[in-house]
């Protein structure tokens, strides 16, 4: 066992740090968005971002090396430099296109997606199809050179800002449940698409209903074959196991929780002096450390081509549970700020303790999105532990 990165990686770290010192932060007068884009472009050219994506499609096409990836993430985070874009376009669509897309699709969509020039939303869930995603009913029919799509999607994050949607639609109504679905790409800016924002319990408006009424997309805007959309969408899930990213967010949050316990007062004393708070913090910290070193173990074993076993199917539920623990202690610590809504709009992170209400509520979004916790438990029991299947075929697993 060895947790040291070794001299090669420490030298690499110096190299990344030198690059950052030269290029970030940018000169003051430039506008922030343009500066971030220009910086990203440089970072891609240096091989620091989008490392697994071919150069032809706007990536930096580096040999797989998760340790370098880790060094880059750490160094970028240290100086607050913009990293890879987040969101369903980069994390779900791009890997799917690279695995299953036609060449013209990769050429047309991947690079602008990586640069943030086009924004995607994920059109999977429907009012009648959540955990049981494969029961989706939005229809797609080929009429001449176009797919014509009608139905409804829901909980569609960022649909109001998106240029395109990757969407699962039923194109073979007579085929079996999982064999009648196709994976299409759809332009959101057209008359047949209506986006109606949904207000979340947090007060934010990040997800939407999307009504599709004869929306059109060209015949060749299909990824993979007709009726193979379910399988195509599954390839994306494999790319979603970035446990390391989730784990470092949890660590940041735990660090803030400790600070909160120092600042919060109980009967004139820091809450951190109180036994129950110390106990609970130490209890949560053990979970956080367990998650961190299990991720290092999993990464090391993956690299060596070894099977890390059960941990892979546990990660989402484990992260969710830690999020719940943190939310519960924070709610106890913030006193009467726990009577408030989270701060709305920009700059919320600089406001008072009510910003923790984002975690108190948001941890539930994490629990539901990407396969609700009970579905995770089904997957752990069936795929992880080999228990008999209960007939709920094709559950959402670890999807979005």
């Amino acid at each position: 066992m060895d947790l040291e990165l070794g001299s090669e990686y420490e030298a690499f770290r110096q190299e990344v740090a030198a690059f950052l010192a030269a290029h970030w932060p940018p000169a003051k007068e430039t506008d922030a968005r343009a500066a971030a884009s220009a910086f990203r472009e440089r970072a891609v050219a240096r091989g620091y971002l989008y490392r697994s994506i071919p150069k032809a499609y706007g990536g930096s096409e580096q040999a797989p090396d998760p340790l370098k990836g880790r060094v880059i993430r750490e160094e970028f985070a240290r100086v607050g430099a913009p990293g890879e874009l987040q969101g369903p376009g980069v994390s779900m669509l791009v890997p799917t296109l690279l695995a299953c897309g036609a060449d013209w699709q990769k050429e047309r969509f991947v690079a602008p997606t990586l640069r943030g020039e086009i924004v995607w939303c994920q059109g999977y869930s429907e009012p009648g199809a959540g955990s049981d995603l494969a029961s989706l009913r939005t229809r797609g029919a080929l009429e001449g050179e176009s797919w014509v799509i009608s139905g409804q999607k829901v909980w569609t994050t960022m649909a109001h800002l998106a240029d395109y949607m990757f969407i699962l639609v039923r194109t073979e109504p007579d085929a079996a449940k999982h064999d009648g679905i196709s994976y299409l790409l759809l332009d959101m800016k057209q008359p047949g698409v209506t986006v109606r924002p949904l207000k979340q319990m947090t007060g934010g408006r990040e997800f939407n209903e999307v009504f599709l009424d004869g929306a059109r997309t060209p015949k060749d805007w299909i990824v993979g074959e007709r009726g193979r959309g379910w399988q195509v969408s599954r390839t994306t899930l494999k790319h979603e196991r970035d446990t390391v990213g989730g784990q470092s967010r949890t660590e940041d949050m735990f660090g803030k929780l400790v600070e909160l316990a120092k600042d919060a007062q109980r009967e004139g004393q820091p809450a951190l002096a109180s036994g129950d708070v110390r106990q609970e913090l130490a209890r949560i910290e053990a979970y956080v450390l367990a998650q961190r070193y299990s991720a290092y173990r999993q990464m090391s074993m993956d690299l060596a081509g070894q099977d890390a076993g059960l941990i892979g199917v546990l990660n989402k539920l484990n992260g969710t549970m830690i999020g719940h623990h943190i939310a519960n202690l924070a709610q106890d610590l913030i006193g009467d700020a726990a009577l408030l809504m989270p701060p709305q709009g920009r700059g919320g992170n600089r406001r008072g303790d009510e910003k923790w209400v984002n975690q108190i509520m948001g941890s539930l979004g994490v629990a539901i999105a990407g396969g609700a916790s009970n579905i995770q438990r089904n997957v752990i029991a069936e795929r992880g532990l080999g228990l008999p299947r209960d007939g709920a075929e094709g559950q959402k697993g670890t999807g979005a």
Binding site: M1, D2, L3, E4, L5, G6, Y9, L67, V258, A261, K262, L272, G275, R278, Q279, L281, A282, R283, E285, A286, Y287, L289, A290, Q291, R292, Y293, S294, A295, Y296, R297, M299, S300, M301, A304, Q306, G309, L310, I311, L314, L317, N318, M321, N374, Q376, R377, N378, I380, A381, E382, G384, L385, G386, L387, P388, R389, D390
Partner: protein, 358 residues
């Protein structure tokens, strides 16, 4: 970074697990459990023949010169198998003598402990939950030891006892005068402990600063955590196997979602904790700045996880799980041991909080 087992480590863990499972399932575990002594001489000598006693002893003493990480991997395997006997005392006594002993003390004891010719144990805890080196009140003066110790593994069997005292350790040999042993009706009958009172007992001084001596407590916490991980993993496997074979309502009970979710919850508590005990062992061996804290956190966490897993496992088995005859209760009681040995989870969490400056 390569945070995974080397081929040698994996082979070691497999060998220990295979041996302990095979012999344990063939009766050694149950025999020891039901016996008056909790000791099965054949099982123990087979384990010593595998070299487990000398894993962390220097090579010139007949050991393998490995570290607490390797001991912890063995402890996990033994915990998984529910192996009976004085492993923990044996390897902790050897660690202490290797770290703090004089050349003469090392010559005298390490080869014998490494090979299993001698049985060793440690006497650390005292009444009033005094488990930390700074709190030990047993005294060694003019070669005479006085004081009372608790939670001593196999005290009457041990050829050599490493006793924690103010100012370090005292080495007490088996037949030294002035020892009073009080046997207890312990729950975990695979790992017997008792109280020992020392009255002017002849003993050999092995001095150590309290802070250095504390490392032995840390090692004990890490190894207990590793045992707990192995045991919890076994209870999970046992419960899953049972759910696949026990039939009710016309099929295996493992098809019922309520039970599946209980088992999935057990898995999500248990499996990630492997990374925690690995890191605690790694931190110990590398003298990491957070080694002491992480040892405490790992012991606390795994003590709880093992106990809760044991409760869930008994429940998942129904009536058979509640019997003396079925082996789930053996691991339940090993969980009770790991929970309480050298202090319950809450005291270690408090210690970790203090060490963090909270």
């Amino acid at each position: 970074m390569r945070f995974r087992l080397s081929d040698d480590q994996a082979a070691l863990q497999d060998a220990v697990r295979d041996y302990a499972l095979r012999e344990g399932d063939a009766g050694a575990r149950r025999r020891a459990f039901e016996s008056d002594t909790g000791f099965d001489a054949d099982f123990w000598s087979g384990l010593m023949d595998l070299g487990v006693g000398g894993l962390a002893c220097p090579e010139d003493a007949g050991g393998l010169g490995l570290g607490v990480t390797d001991l912890a991997l063995a402890a996990e395997a033994l915990g998984y198998a529910g192996a009976p006997g004085p492993f923990l005392g044996q390897v902790l006594a050897a660690l202490a003598i290797d770290r703090f002993g004089s050349p003469a003390q090392k010559d005298r004891w390490l080869p014998a402990l490494a090979t299993g010719q001698a049985i060793g144990t440690v006497a650390l805890a005292e009444a009033g939950d005094r488990v930390r080196a700074a709190d030990w009140t047993a005294r060694l003066e003019g070669g005479r030891l006085s004081g009372e110790k608790r939670q001593v593994l196999y005290p009457e069997l041990a050829d050599i006892t490493v006793v924690g005292v103010a100012g370090g350790f005292a080495l007490v040999e088996k037949d030294a005068a002035g020892q009073t042993f009080e046997a207890l009706d312990v729950a975990d009958r695979t790992r017997r402990i008792g109280h020992v009172a020392y009255a002017e007992t002849p003993a050999d001084a092995m001095p150590a600063e309290a802070d250095a001596a504390e490392a032995l407590v840390d090692a004990a916490l890490v190894l207990t955590a590793a045992d707990a991980f192995g045991g919890a993993r076994r209870l999970l496997d046992m419960s899953v196997d049972y759910a696949k074979t026990r039939e009710q309502f016309g099929g295996p009970i493992g098809r019922f979602q309520g039970l599946k979710h209980q088992l999935a919850n057990m898995a999500v508590e248990v499996e990630p904790a492997r990374g925690l005990y690995w890191y605690a062992a790694y931190a110990f061996d590398h003298g990491a700045p957070d080694a002491r804290r992480v040892a405490a956190l790992a012991k606390a966490h795994l003590g709880d996880v093992y106990m809760q897993t044991a409760r869930a496992a008994v429940e998942a088995h129904g009536g058979i799980g509640y019997t003396w005859e079925y082996d789930a209760q053996i691991w339940f009681k090993r969980a009770m041991f790991d929970f309480a040995y050298l202090g319950a989870p809450s005291r270690h969490r408090e210690h970790a909080a203090r060490l963090a400056g909270w």
